[in-house]
């Protein structure tokens, strides 16, 4: 493995998570190295979204440990975890629909107090997403799906994150927008930010990721380098549900 993974920015170690009597994770372990793009693949109800909630501290695992840059987050509240450098692009974007695009972006910098730094980052983010810049005054809920996805990614960058976690960033987008979003994820990563993305669209995600995990009913079924996973027939067995699909 590369040295990137030796000091991981994110580590999940043998976590068990429960919703009431139902268990969502069974000894789940994974990690994301600094500057890496890692994708977590899996079908609906495989435990992907719960994984995102655990990383953000919105759900606490019953066993195991979660570490951001070596610091255990089990006892931390979500704002403290965000302050460690975790940006989020939630599932279905979840913009604040009745607030302006500008207000949405500034909400991304909520945990920061450096006014000048925030202003500078707004400039920087807008050069990365020029389209968002044209819409600063508009209500976020009136944007198209693709534009909303841009705002959601720009918002995540406003917190100056060291890792951005993304929950199905291409969900509900037309093929044209899917390509753009993937390009932008590469660009974000190019700025040294690690990306951990949950995706259902395996081959898309694996094309831009360095490594991938396949999650099935709360367990890691497969893991490896993206290039290897991309050509592994077992990924279909584990994830798409059988070999005859081809």
């Amino acid at each position: 493995m590369t040295d990137k993974t030796e000091n991981p920015i994110l580590e999940l170690e043998a976590i068990d998570t429960f919703y009431g009597p139902v268990q969502a994770h069974f000894g789940l372990s994974l990690h994301v190295g600094k500057g890496e793009i890692v994708c977590l693949l899996g079908g609906n109800a495989s435990g992907k979204s719960t994984t995102m909630k655990v990383i953000l501290g919105l759900v606490k695992p019953a066993a195991g440990d979660v570490r951001i840059d070596g610091i255990s987050t089990l006892k931390l509240k979500t704002p403290e975890i965000v302050r460690l450098g975790v940006g989020t692009v939630p599932e279905a974007r979840r913009l604040f629909g009745a607030m302006s695009v500008r207000e949405n972006l500034l909400m991304g910098a909520f945990t920061r107090n450096d006014k000048d730094g925030i202003a500078a980052d707004l400039e920087r983010v807008l050069t990365l997403f020029p389209r968002v810049g044209q819409r600063l005054g508009q209500q976020a809920g009136t944007l198209s799906g693709g534009e909303q996805q841009m705002v959601a990614m720009a918002r995540a960058l406003m917190g100056r994150p060291r890792i951005v976690i993304m929950d199905e960033p291409t969900m509900g987008l037309s093929p044209l927008w899917v390509d753009r979003v993937l390009e932008l994820i590469r660009d974000i990563n190019g700025q040294g930010v690690a990306v951990f993305m949950v995706e259902q669209n395996a081959s898309l995600a694996l094309q831009i990721a360095h490594r991938g995990y396949v999650l099935q009913t709360g367990r890691i079924a497969l893991e490896g380098k993206a290039a290897d996973l991309l050509v592994d027939t077992r990924i279909r067995d584990a994830y798409l549900g059988g070999a005859e699909a081809a």
Partner: protein, 607 residues
């Protein structure tokens, strides 16, 4: 005669005070999805803190205002921290019930500290009036208007221009996404409760000066008016709440001008029901949208109900029947008779709120319908009491179901608000329909209970009659629950969408639950009327509705044995220990708070 100009000014001033309440309710609903029934109690506290400041400390007006803001703002923080936050993961209705418990505690504490008597709040501004046209505006009117506008401007600036203001709006729009941005939503809740409570407190002290009188019981009405304003403007919509408040103030003021003071509240509640039924998202909702989902979810904690062994139940029943022969205490027997009547009410509500998930806050109205029907038929027409009892039950079932039927399409908290409003409407109709109900005088000299032509005067005979009725109807309810209707009602409670997808029409089954439960409550109300020989519009008040809900929760929602046990515990025990009346209501409030927090499944578990 006062002019229309005066009515308009009066309406706007009252509307301004409603707005101080409604804006807070809207803010709290926005971030917590909670209708805060303790809000009016904070307003009462504000009024009394203001009274202490003016009358005891003799502070000037601005200082009075500051003291009220500080005290009630702090109270809001305390309420949020200890009353609401522990229930963050509980069903949505749990914090609502907690705020009802809190309102009992706050109101009664004020009453115990300051006595129930009305007090005058000295006006701290000169009583000059400016004459305009046919009417006049006073300095206090202008002051109240000015404070309203200042508060609204400050709030707007806070929400629009500050970081925490954005956090409040973001949390209201999408709580989880706000948390993912690193917003401490507990802090947001704290800020919102502090602001809302401070505004409510200011409203309290201003209304005290405006009417020159405050009482510890004025909070409940204030809560209701705030809620009506909020619903009119669209629940959770802050500017909407302001417009809704002014509208309500004007409607009330003109209504009073046309029909008289006793109609004031009738206008408010009819407006409430009309808006809930016709435009549940408020006057200003434009787009077709799904109602806010998080408000659904019933107060049913998953639990295994305690299975009472048949011999134990039989033994308890035998003891209950033999008790008058064993113990020579008329007082105890009367108390237990009362407990059996409350058990009937508890059975009714445990079916409606527990089994069917429709948390009714207006159940006392069913008692009133049954009580008045039976009392009037027996005293005016001389019909036999056993017959009027039955008719009272059927009247409560029929009229009650008919009245509440517009609310069948509502879900979650809206059901509670609507039933509360309908309950208030029934009480106000009784008060105003003097030709039939004898208005505020009430019905006196109601014929005593009778059976087979024999009047029942004997305490023990009445006891046995009440117990027999209660036991019979409890068995009937058990039979209902074991039929297909039992599972159907519980399906409606657990997931009404899934239930509808399997052909369960909500109107039909909610109607059946209210009718069946209404019959029980009607019998209970009718029995009570004949037992006491006097009732008026205040005999069956909202406190009884809340007490009934506490009984149902204490026993375990939907649990037949639990409703009986709950009634004995909440009616019997305080009576036996001779707890004074004002402490008793305090006790009920605390009981409700503790139950919701620590034992939501009640004593015997939910069914």
């Amino acid at each position: 005669m006062t002019s229309w100009f005066d009515h308009t000014i009066n309406g706007l001033i009252i509307g301004n005070i409603y707005a101080l309440l409604a804006v807070g309710l809207a803010l709290i609903f926005g971030v917590s999805r909670l209708i805060n029934f303790a809000h009016g109690s904070v307003y009462v506290v504000g009024a009394y803190v203001g009274w202490v400041a003016v009358s005891v400390l003799e502070t000037p007006f601005p200082v009075t205002l500051l003291i009220v803001v500080a005290f009630t703002g702090l109270l809001g923080i305390v309420i949020e921290r200890f009353g609401i936050r522990p229930l963050a993961d509980a069903p949505r209705i749990a914090p609502l019930l907690a705020t009802i418990g809190l309102s009992f505690v706050l109101d009664q504490t004020v009453q115990i500290l300051f006595s129930p008597d009305p007090r005058a709040v000295p006006m701290q501004v000169p009583n000059w009036r400016i004459n305009i046209g046919g009417g006049s505006i006073g300095v206090l009117d202008l002051l109240i208007g000015g404070i309203g506008i200042t508060a609204a401007t400050a709030l707007f600036a806070f929400l629009k221009l500050t970081k925490w203001g954005w956090a409040v709006r973001a949390t209201a729009l999408d709580r989880d996404a706000a948390r993912a941005m690193g917003v401490d939503v507990d802090q947001v809740n704290r800020i919102v409760f502090a602001i809302a409570s401070a505004l409510g407190g200011v409203g309290g002290v201003l209304v005290g000066m405006y009417y020159n009188v405050i009482t510890p019981t004025m909070g409940f009405e204030a809560t209701l008016k705030g809620i009506v304003s909020e619903v009119v403007g669209g629940v959770g919509n802050v500017p909407g709440a302001i417009v809704g408040s002014l509208l309500l103030g004007l409607v009330e003021s003109y209504g009073v001008a046309l029909l008289g003071t006793s109609y004031r509240n009738l206008f408010a509640f009819v407006l409430l029901i009309a808006i809930l039924v016709l435009r549940p998202n408020g006057l200003f909702a434009s787009r077709r949208q799904l109602p806010p989902e998080p408000m659904t979810g019933t107060f049913v904690a998953p639990s295994k109900p305690v299975n009472l062994p048949v011999p134990l139940v039989a033994a308890a029943a035998a003891v209950a029947i033999a008790l008058p022969l064993l113990i020579d205490s008329g007082y105890l027997i009367q108390t237990l008779t009362n407990a059996w009547l409350y058990a009937l009410l508890g059975l009714s509500l445990t079916l409606v709120a527990g089994t069917s998930g429709q948390v009714s806050l207006g159940h006392a109205a069913l008692l009133a319908i049954g009580g008045y029907t039976s009392a009037l038929l027996a005293s005016n027409l001389g019909w036999p009491v056993w017959l009027t009892l039955l008719i009272g039950g059927f009247a409560a079932a029929g009229i009650g179901t008919l009245l509440v039927s517009p609310a069948f399409r509502l879900r979650g908290h809206y059901v509670s608000i609507a039933t509360l409003g309908i309950g208030e409407i029934v009480a106000l109709v009784i008060l105003n329909w003097e030709s039939v109900t004898r208005g505020p005088i009430g019905v006196a000299g109601i014929p005593p209970l009778s059976l087979f032509g024999y009047d029942l005067y004997d305490t023990n005979a009445i006891y046995w009659f009440a117990f027999a009725l209660m036991a019979l109807l409890a068995l009937l309810q058990l039979r209902l629950l074991s039929s297909h209707l039992g599972r159907t009602l519980r399906a409606v409670r657990d997931d009404d969408i899934a239930a509808r997808s399997f052909g369960i029409g909500l109107n039909r089954y909610k109607g059946l639950a209210f009718a069946f439960g209404g019959f029980f409550a009607g019998i209970s109300g009718a029995f009570t009327a004949h037992m006491y020989s006097f009732i008026n519009h205040e005999t069956f008040n909202t406190q009884i509705s809340v007490l009934a809900l506490t009984i149902a929760i204490l026993g375990g929602m939907g649990n037949v044995g639990g409703a009986i046990l709950g009634a004995v515990a909440l009616i019997g025990l305080p009576e036996i220990f001779r707890v004074a009346a004002e402490y008793r209501i305090l006790l009920y409030g605390i009981a409700l708070l503790l139950l919701v927090r620590f034992r939501p499944q009640g004593l015997l578990g939910t069914v």
